[in-house]
């Protein structure tokens, strides 16, 4: 039981980290960003590359975490404004199919760019993961790094909630989410809010990638898995809802841990079973709001 709870929370933290940026971007820009997984991959590559390049055995562990964080920030701060200003802003208010096609094209382009820059050979940046060591919970060893992920996910979640609800920018963002036209009429710099919100979403995607990098072999193709999982979690929680992403991640994490421990054959379908059940009873997701169609 303890193992299920620990595994569930660990997985929930990871999936929240990688999907929260997607829900934020949808909330503000109303764009379902298929390239979210690519931004995750770029974050993973940048973080892993920095660790491989600059972190040597004997250096303080904190430096490796600083390098991962730097990787996420560099990837997010460079790509976020660039993509939003040069591409996405032309799709605002357009048909959803067009937005999906544009972000899908971006997904393909970023996938090829990643290969151009980093090649197809894997990057290994496991030093932060293995150096932290293990902790025993109920006779089963767990990596301390997983606890770091839990802490990071909690920090990101609380930080985003505070930003949305307690800061001026958060209130501006809420206004833009509510009604873009009225926000413009009220003098809010809507394009700037959109650029900043998308950049935050990009940094979050890259952060998820960078802090996953030490636990995996960073290879081409890691973007696809993440985008599918992120979509599922965000749909369960309700598109655009921060609280929904958090609760959706927790439900998926616990459900998956139960499957892995008790019914391993069902591991693959768990997330989709949860999604189907939630959507049957709440088509707009757990925290999503039913929208009134404007004519």
């Amino acid at each position: 039981m303890t193992a299920i709870l620990v595994d569930g929370v660990v997985y929930a933290s990871w999936i929240f980290l990688v999907s929260v940026g997607l829900t934020l971007v949808f909330g503000v820009l109303r764009i379902l960003n298929i390239a979210h997984g690519s931004l995750y991959a770029v974050g993973a590559y940048t973080g892993a590359w920095l660790v491989v390049r600059y972190f040597q055995p004997g250096m303080p562990l904190a430096l490796s975490f600083a390098l991962l964080l730097a990787g996420a920030l560099i990837a997010g701060l460079v790509l976020g404004p660039l993509i939003e200003r040069l591409l996405l802003r032309f799709t605002y208010g357009r048909d959803e199919v067009m937005q999906l096609l544009v972000t899908y094209a971006l997904f393909l382009i970023l996938g090829d760019l990643t290969k151009l820059i980093w090649g197809v050979n894997p990057y290994y940046a496991y030093a932060p993961y293995s150096m932290l060591g293990n902790v025993s919970i109920g006779n089963v060893p767990y990596p301390r790094y997983d606890l770091v992920l839990i802490g990071l996910a909690a920090t990101v979640g609380i930080g985003l909630w505070l930003m949305t609800n307690r800061t001026r920018f958060g209130r501006l963002m809420t206004a833009v989410i509510g009604d873009r036209e009225i926000s413009t009429a009220l003098g809010i710099n809507v394009p700037l809010v959109c650029t900043v919100a998308f950049t935050i979403g990009t940094v979050l995607a890259a952060l998820g990638g960078a802090f996953t990098a030490p636990t995996i072999s960073v290879v081409p193709g890691i973007d696809v898995t993440v985008i599918v999982l992120s979509f599922a979690v965000v749909v369960i929680g309700g598109l655009g809802s921060l609280e929904g992403a958090a609760l959706g991640s927790l439900i998926v994490g616990i459900a998956r841990a139960i499957a892995v421990h008790r019914f391993p054959d069902l591991d693959l379908v768990t997330i989709y079973v949860v999604m189907v059940i939630v959507l049957i009873f709440r088509p707009q997701g757990l925290f999503g709001r039913a929208e009134v169609k404007r004519l």
């Binding site: 193992a3 496991y126 293995s130 636990t215 193709g221 898995t225 391993p264």
Partner: protein, 443 residues
């Protein structure tokens, strides 16, 4: 009205797409006549993953192997019995195609087949299964070089298709035999395999082979994470809690490396005996090979790489590959070598039989059927699938870390008749019937 216009427009687009698809289908030449002309050179289409997750562990090493071999074949610098330049004096030219180039491998295959004399290719079993019937329709001699599913020749028979590597069932039967003899007090076995055909078939073959060898061994519920899942912490903690004697995994590429990165620090590889049936490429990965602990049972999907028998061809191939790419060849390079050398041997045998420099496709097929030929991995014989499917010996070893270098020790070799089912019996039936006819199995 606007919606109506849109619908009309959409129909026009759909019709245009359908018309284009039909036109493309009729434009694809289906005549094999091109292969029968007198060529100055032979074009060989080589299909392997050049992008995607399977490129780095499989596709690129296979392409590298093909490049080295074909260049050396054209120079005539291979050791015996392949000293002859080209294919019997005819220059060979590779035409590489990415196996991940699109969602429709059959159309891609047809396009390639129309412009080359032979095709060597396919790592994915799904691609092999779908391309084999297309090869028959195109009447193009196609050599499958790496995919593992036994279903190609167990469920069908083909005239134009050959496979120069053994099926994945052989890997798992040999793994079961190795584990059974190495750990005589074996009580419980579990596994972690990717949740698709490769992982499920591998686990089914391994667990049923263990059960067939010793019915008292308890087979625990195995873990089946999604392919490319990335995070295996839940599965690892479940396996650690269950604490089985042996853990079987057919993980490959980034998934195998991820399992090592996440599992090694937690003691997964020291608490249980772990078997990685496709783990050999990890030994050639600078930056991660050092994580590999002692005591891991490692396979190379045949007698390849560090498990290859000593012979002149292997000595030449390993050196040529290492000199050029600064790393040892992994098993996909060896699989490619088997396909290229098999085709060369068949072509030259057909030349001799037909007394012609340019034998027809039918003559090459006749020569290839039931052929035995030398490779860096030893002698390969096309013994199954009416002479179109290779049988191979198998080998497994256990890792030993010494002075930071990982080697394989306690290597056991399993002769062909010990791990390959005889003609006419499906691998799963052979396992279930306790391997009738198996002989010369090492203890």
């Amino acid at each position: 009205m606007e919606r109506q216009c849109f619908m009309t427009f959409r129909r026009v687009i759909m019709a245009a797409l359908a018309a284009t698809a039909m036109a493309s289908a009729t434009l694809v030449p289906s005549s094999p006549a091109a292969a029968q002309t007198q060529p100055q050179e032979l074009k060989i289409g080589i299909v392997t993953f050049l992008s995607g997750a399977a490129a780095s562990p499989f596709g690129i090493p296979a392409r590298n192997g093909a490049e080295i071999l074909l260049e050396s074949i054209n120079k005539g610098s291979l050791p015996a019995p392949y000293e002859k330049k080209g294919f019997g004096g005819v220059k060979v030219v590779p035409v590489f195609m990415d196996e991940a180039s699109g969602p429709d491998p059959i159309s891609a295959y047809r396009r390639l087949a129309s412009s080359v004399d032979f095709v060597i290719g396919y790592i994915s079993s799904e691609h092999c299964l779908s391309v084999a019937p297309a090869a028959e329709e195109e009447q193009k001699l196609t050599v499958l070089f790496d995919c593992g599913t036994p279903r190609i020749f167990e469920d069908n028979s083909y005239r134009y298709v050959f496979r120069t590597t053994a099926t994945a069932a052989v890997d798992n039967i040999a793994a079961a035999r190795y584990v059974y003899s190495r750990y005589p007090n074996l009580k419980t076995v579990s596994g972690i395999n990717q949740n698709y055909a490769w992982g499920q078939d591998s686990w089914k073959d391994f667990s049923s082979a263990i059960k067939s060898l010793d019915s008292k061994v308890k087979i625990d519920a195995a873990q089946f994470p999604a392919i490319f899942a990335g995070s295996y912490s839940s599965q690892i903690s479940t396996l650690l809690a269950a604490d089985p004697d042996v853990i079987h995994s057919s993980f490959w590429g980034g998934d195998a490396e991820g399992l090592l990165i996440q599992g090694a620090p937690l003691g997964l590889f020291s608490r249980s005996h772990v078997v990685l049936t496709a783990g050999e490429p990890i030994l050639h990965r600078q930056g991660i090979a050092s994580l590999m602990p002692s005591g891991v049972v490692l396979g190379a999907r045949g007698p390849h790489g560090p498990l290859a028998p000593e012979n002149k061809l292997d000595a030449w191939f390993s050196k040529a590959y290492a000199d050029r790419y600064n790393t040892e060849p992994a098993y996909p390079s060896y699989h490619m070598a088997q396909a290229v050398l098999g085709l060369k041997a068949a072509y030259e045998k057909a030349q001799a039989a037909s007394h012609s420099e340019h034998p027809t496709t039918a003559q090459v097929i006749a020569a290839f059927t039931h052929l035995s030929f030398e490779t860096p991995s030893g002698t390969i014989t096309m013994a199954l699938g009416k002479g179109h499917q290779a049988v191979e010996p198998a080998a497994y070893g256990v890792t030993k870390v010494e002075n930071g270098k990982v080697t394989l020790t306690d290597v056991k070799r399993y002769p062909v008749e010990c791990v390959n089912p005889p003609e006419g019996i499906k691998a799963e039936d052979w396992i279930a019937r306790h391997f009738p006819g198996a002989k010369n199995c090492p203890k």
